[in-house]
Amino acid sequence: MIGIIWNRYRKNRLAVAGLCVISVISLMALFAPLISPYDPTAIDVYDVLSAPSGKHFLGTDELGRDVLTRMLWGSRISLTVGFVAVGIAISIGILIGSIAGFYGGRIDNLLMRLVDIMLCFPTFFLILAVIAVVEQSISTIMIVIGFTSWMDVSRLVRAEILTLKERDFVLAARAVGADDFRVIARHILPNALSPVFVSATFGVAGAILTESGLSFLGLGVVPPDPSWGNILTSGKDNITVAWWLSVFPGLAILFTVLSYNLVGEGLRDALDPRLWRSER
């Protein structure tokens, strides 16, 4: 099964490229303490806002900190936020989607109205409102992004479950006396997961974008912790003198997010059984 999927996936060259970029960035994040040339928070007042050079490959910021180092450490935060936020969103989405799809009726109606209501809010407004009232930290950001982006997953899971729950294998599982939880968790969900998986990949891309936007506004990762978004804030503050502060972190975000989107697209095609036959 995995072999078939991989064979289909690797035909999409852009998706393979995306996977490579993600691997490189993840390794860089993992080994940031070993490969970064400087200390991410070390201030050097004699070397502020210096342009990229042999000493500082990507220049320094307004406190003389090495931009490359801060970007390497920032990648850890961006990736962590992306994964944890999506993990939270998916858990909530699966829970609500399965309950709504499996039980139907009034519960379904109620939960889907909740989804409609949540979708009315401009997501960024909702996130900002929560951040206004809670203490600002990396874990808050992850939780808030997770709690405001589960709606699509819950709709996907619900739709999958609606088509699966009348199928024979589910009836068979029920007939041998499996309880609801077991039927959902062991028999239905595994068959409903591939669209969720695809949506999660796109979700990571979205969460990284949201985090960088929040940090850019000063409402995300708090300095001196580095994040791609808050390096861009210094870029904005020094816009007339230090282009490198604006260009490099943005490129990092662009490439990471682009790669996740390409991988998501590749996975969607590779996992969709309806497309399998047409290419044979």
Partner: protein, 314 residues
């Protein structure tokens, strides 16, 4: 409709009131001397000493009258502060929507007609890059290029300082210059999705039997595409325009703070920083209602464009 509005108010209210640390803490944390008594007085003043459900009912009762209370920051009525800002944000977003539509739909349609051509591949790549670009970053780059290096466009605000001495035409030109970057960049964000969507919608339509019929009866290709295919392909696109509204309104927070535009998004950002609860809640509800209205307009437009769907029809 009504349950949705009710739900919107309930969620806005809960989000803001379940969290620890209220406006009183913010107002008193600056002065250590504030006594417990003074804090209590402040709480009473804002009605924060009552149980949560009473606060909600009070607030809902006033909400029906469009009274969102007074801002904690400057004591002005929240509804006034919001209605000052809404026109600017709406103008920018509507302009951005129009621009998006005018650029994205032709791109999508063209790449569908020439599926697998170089143009199609390039636009597909453009769509992915458009999806993945942090738009505030693009805004920064454009500010550096057009504002700082080339000096063609102003980089902040919506009017120049000497605007009072200008003639009407000059003012319009001045406003246009200030709006090019914000409108262009927020449209760029929505363009990727919309052009992708019009492409797939068009692809679906040109495979239909009635298109084959139109070709078979000898119509020119141009006529087939413009008369027969385009109208049908555009119908689902209208719905997507409606769905783009929350993204645009939410995005206004970042754009308006980058370009210092005095709109709803900037007000929301400032209120978040100062924890101005009544204003936050007011904007949250208004933002959601604007989205709801946008979706309704999209539904109605869909019904007008598609004779198969008529409101209230069987």
């Amino acid at each position: 409709m009504v349950p949705l509005i009710f739900g919107i108010t309930l969620i806005s209210f809960l989000v803001i009131h379940l969290a620890p640390g209220g406006p009183v803490e913010v107002e008193t944390e600056m002065s250590m001397k504030a006594s417990a008594q003074a804090r209590d007085n402040l709480k009473k003043l804002y009605g924060l000493d009552k149980p949560l459900h009473e606060q909600y009912i009070d607030w809902l009762g006033r909400f029906v009258m469009l009274d969102f209370g007074k801002s904690f920051v400057d004591g002005k009525d929240v509804i006034d502060k919001i209605s000052e800002r809404v026109p600017i944000t709406l103008t920018i977003n509507i302009l951005a929507l129009i621009l998006t539509f005018c650029v994205a739909v032709p791109i999508g349609v063209m790449s569908a007609i020439r599926q697998f051509s170089l143009f199609d591949k390039l636009t597909t790549l453009f769509v992915f890059i458009g999806y993945s670009t942090p738009h505030f970053w693009l805004a920064l780059l454009c500010m550096i290029l057009f504002g700082v290096n080339l000096g063609w466009l102003p980089i902040s605000g919506i009017q120049s300082l000497d605007v009072s001495g200008m003639s009407f035409a000059e003012r319009v030109l001045d406003l246009a210059k200030h709006l090019i970057l914000p409108v262009g960049i927020s449209a760029f964000g929505a363009m990727a999705g919309l052009s992708r969507y019009s492409r797939s919608s068009m692809l679906e339509v040109i495979r239909q039997d009635y298109i084959r019929t139109a070709r078979a009866k000898g119509l020119k290709e141009r006529q087939v595409i413009l008369r027969h295919a385009l109208r049908n392909a555009l119908m689902p696109v209208i719905t997507i325009l409606g769905l783009a509204i929350p993204g645009l309104i939410g995005g206004s927070v970042i754009f308006e703070s980058i370009f210092s535009i005095p709109g709803l998004g900037q007000l929301f950002y400032q209120s978040t920083l100062s924890r101005d609860y009544p204003t936050i809640m007011g904007i949250l509800v208004i933002g959601a209602l604007l989205t709801l209205i946008g979706n309704m307009i999209a539904d109605l437009a869909y019904a007008i464009a598609d004779p198969r769907i008529r409101v209230g029809a069987e």
